[in-house]
Subunit: 228 residues, 2 copies
Amino acid sequence: MLSTLEWVMAAAPDTDEPKRPTRPTRSTYRHGDLRNALIKAGVELAREGGPEAVVLRAATRHAGVVPNAAYRHFADRGALLHAVSQAAMARVARTMEAEQAALPPATDAKEAARARFRAVGTGYLRFAQEEPGLFRAAFHVPGDMSHAADDDAAGSGGTPFELLGAALDDLVETGALPEDRRPGAEFLAWSAVHGLAVLLIDGPLRGLHPTQAHDAGRHVIDMIERGI
Amino acid sequence: MLSTLEWVMAAAPDTDEPKRPTRPTRSTYRHGDLRNALIKAGVELAREGGPEAVVLRAATRHAGVVPNAAYRHFADRGALLHAVSQAAMARVARTMEAEQAALPPATDAKEAARARFRAVGTGYLRFAQEEPGLFRAAFHVPGDMSHAADDDAAGSGGTPFELLGAALDDLVETGALPEDRRPGAEFLAWSAVHGLAVLLIDGPLRGLHPTQAHDAGRHVIDMIERGI
DNA sequence: GGACCCTTGTGTACGATGTCCACATTCGGG
DNA sequence: CCCGAATGTGGACATCGTACACAAGGGTCC
């Protein structure tokens, strides 16, 4: 009906109408990189509002596209949310790596391994507090499990799980952790740290002062080192 | 328009129409106990499908009532979900108490306190596995926090938190736990157990065989006892 | 015992959302 | 250059939460 040019003009009227939800500004009929744009929008939605806030129509609105366009790239809302999850998970991993990278150089190898191990937990907890919405989205699991457990989200270096495993291996190699305690240790550590994260985000420890939260993290990691 | 009797008859037509969503059977205009009926329906919905499955209209349908009737008893869907949460939390507490009650009589007081402490965690984990939907609903927190942290859900004896605290106090009294380790210990224990529960319900440990899950629970509780 | 009013349930309606279907536009290869 | 596959649009539908006005019933005070 409308030529491309006319269509673009119609989509950007100069009359100051009261309704201008988002910028439907796009010069080409094809978007070019809609899939990533939708994920990006989804991540932004998840950042402020958690997984339930990643609404298909809102994401397409942000991308300046009609709702159905999303279905060319995602089977359904769940698939989009899953992609957002993976992106969030990657950010968790990156935060953990950053925490390790910021560590002061250590003299003792055993002490260094220990510090790297603690940084894994600290980074995890820091991300949970700084980006609670993304954190919840990262570990969100759909009710029908249609997108569950089929793939992992890799950061620059690896998944959070792999980072934790590597840190534990380091502990064993430097003798900071007896070998017979190694099997299954990631689940012990993960349980404790993740549990605290949930407590801090929306459990009874919600709204704790950041300093106190950091202390709580220290205590939990102390417990892990002692009890692992 | 219709007398009460006529209305009741109209609500239960003998023509076998294809659409009969649920039984709108009710003999009185007033329901009598709608609030509790809605909570009950909500709990049932949450049991199979978690918090997001507790849908206002579905609950009213179960209760044989028009959707808006719910608003005479709950401010909004969030309020209903909150009530369901409290009910679910109470069930958690009852499961924990049942686990403690099923404990074999112990000879040593210190050993008894330890067993009671472990039962707290075991009951918690058992509930999470047997009723994952309700468990998720119990710890669900609304995005806008409008119903957050204002009241506690009491079971027959107390909230899960109180039960945990009591168990820890017992440990101190019997000398199984040094007094200086007591402050904040509930958060350490809660973190670890809750984290494992989440792992088991919808984390990477999802779908673990119940036996293995029980073992994992044992290991986490071991870690807590060692590291607390 | 009857008039009043507060509580509780009904009817109707609106906007938002996820998703289905048919159609339009564009791009990349033969 | 033309045609099919990929991508975006338009329109429609069921479902959901919720607001507003109205009806029915129960309790209370005269």
